[in-house]
């Protein structure tokens, strides 16, 4: 493992210090998937928010999106992803327009493998 190089900058606290290995671990059904982590402030309904995604052991994040599985719909806006810095991605303009269970989905490519990650979060 190349080591954890993830740094988090909280949206509301732009001067927050960089924290190695912070954020929640994302789940993947792919065997031996390298670790991916995500961090964000609790979003408000219908308000845009930012997530930070870190992918360890190389590879690149291809897409970040979200769905509401119980309702069979996704988000109404395309998130925009910044150019990564040291394996860290900043993704803006995610919007959860309904309360309930959402799945944040990250698709990555690592060593020519497509790996899907998911993080479950409930929005009140």
């Amino acid at each position: 493992m190349r080591g954890c190089v993830f740094a988090v900058l909280a949206v509301a606290l732009p001067s927050a210090p960089a924290l190695a290995c912070d954020g929640e671990v994302m789940q993947s059904s792919t065997a031996k998937a390298p670790e991916a982590r995500i961090q964000f402030e609790p979003p408000q309904i219908s308000q845009p928010f930012v997530v930070r995604v870190a992918l360890f052991d190389g590879g690149q994040v291809l897409t970040v999106d979200a769905i509401m599985p119980a309702h069979q719909h996704g988000m109404l806006y395309r998130p925009s992803m910044s150019t990564p810095e040291q394996g860290r991605y900043t993704v803006e303009n995610l919007v959860f327009h309904m309360p309930g269970l959402w799945h944040i989905q990250v698709q990555a490519e690592v060593d020519a493998r497509r790996i899907d990650y998911v993080y479950e979060t409930v929005v009140q």
Binding site: Q44, I45, Q124
Partner: protein, 379 residues
């Protein structure tokens, strides 16, 4: 902290001395339901100026905007004002199914209260700024039908000329289009001030969250439980405004006639994306283009067709009839529509939210009782 001990029925007489008798009510909501109420306030929201409108929050502009809102000078033949449809004495709408401009319009007249700070405006969301939403009816040939240059001439020859020039500078130096946009911004500055007052629900929510004894009818509480629970109402009618301000298929037919349909959000988005009057346009006064991210990143979906903006539920008792086409005359009819919704009318690729939930007669009355508490009582 809310304690069960507070949830008792108190006879107010005797507790309040000389105050009018006030029946304090039992609280039947669960702790989880009470916790969810936090998201429905506070009300009113903190007023913030619209950076895309340099007249926003300017008292002089607001006063002029109000005068223009009520004056038919904005229509080409001097017959229609904004207030002709958005009646200040009638919840800023009219009690008709569909608006009447020069012809019978396709949609119900939405209230213009509580619009400040929204992301989209109109049933189809054709505007991303209140000033843009205020501009379209002035030039729409089915509504006020005023060409920009003719509007400028009308205003130059009106009692408003001097007042306008105090705010805009010499009108002769403006194009007709610039005058049109500025008039729309004055109208928007006024409409931003149209904020509904706190309601019995707001007081109930506040009392609960502060651990105070409450005065709120049990029927309304039972209706609130349906609203938060099996009715699934609060998926879309959420937040202090009771709307997520997005677009949904509510199972209301969108045929205007045997040969015409109302495309709803699909058409609204097409018009928005081709509009010269957006937060991302030269007409915005905000160099930072705040809010333009939504226009840039909004997704176009098959299910936009026949979807309409979720309206606020505040002030509902002033704004009958209901739905985008005004087809439901009463709150009871709206509740029955959702309770027995015809899922055959819903998009196959739409959201799997709505399904019949078969309210009893008492439950229909309860949900209506709750909805009525989102308005300020008469008198």
């Amino acid at each position: 902290m809310i304690r069960r001990g507070l949830r008792v029925l108190l006879a107010a007489a005797g507790l309040w001395g000389s105050l009018p008798a006030l029946a304090l009510a039992e609280v039947i909501l669960s702790d989880a339901e009470i916790a969810r109420l936090s998201a429905f306030g506070p009300w009113p929201p903190v007023a913030e100026p619209d950076p895309s409108n340099r007249f926003s929050s300017d008292p002089q502009a607001i006063a002029l905007g109000q005068a223009l809102f009520n004056d038919p000078i904005l229509s080409s033949d001097g017959l229609l004002s904004c207030a002709s449809c958005h009646d200040p004495e009638g919840g800023f709408t009219r009690p008709v199914a569909r608006g009447m401009g020069r012809v019978l319009l396709d949609r119900n007249i939405p209230t213009v209260r509580d619009l400040a700070g929204l992301r989209w405006f109109g049933w189809g969301g054709r505007s991303d700024a209140l000033w843009a939403a205020s501009l379209h009816p002035i030039v729409d040939p089915t509504e006020m039908a005023h060409a920009p240059e003719a509007l400028k001439v009308s205003l130059l020859n009106s009692p408003y000329a001097e007042w306008l020039e105090q705010l805009l500078g010499p009108l002769q130096g403006h194009t007709g289009e610039a005058v049109l946009v500025n008039i729309a911004k004055l109208l928007a500055a006024y409409q931003e001030t149209l904020v509904s007052a706190p309601t019995p629900f707001d007081q109930f929510r506040l009392d609960l969250l502060q651990g105070q004894a409450v005065s709120y009818p049990l029927a309304a509480q039972r209706g609130l439980q349906i609203f938060l629970g099996r009715g699934n109402c609060s998926f879309c009618h959420v937040g202090p405004r009771f709307t997520n301000n997005e677009f949904h298929d509510a199972g209301v037919p969108y045929f205007l006639s045997a040969t015409r349909v109302d495309p709803g959000r699909h058409q609204g988005l097409q018009r928005l994306l081709s509009s010269p009057y957006t937060l991302d346009s030269q007409w915005s006064d905000d160099p930072a283009r705040t809010g333009a991210w939504a226009l840039r990143s909004v997704r176009q979906r098959h299910s936009d067709f026949g979807s309409f903006r979720t309206p606020t539920l505040r002030g509902l008792t002033d704004t009958a009839p209901y739905m985008h086409d005004g087809s439901l005359p009463t709150l009871e009819a709206v509740v029955r529509h959702y309770s027995e919704i015809n899922t055959e009318r819903l998009h196959a690729d739409g959201e799997a939210i709505l399904a019949p939930f078969h309210l009893s007669e008492r439950e229909v009355a309860d949900l209506v009782a709750f909805l009525q508490t989102l308005s300020v009582p008469d008198g």
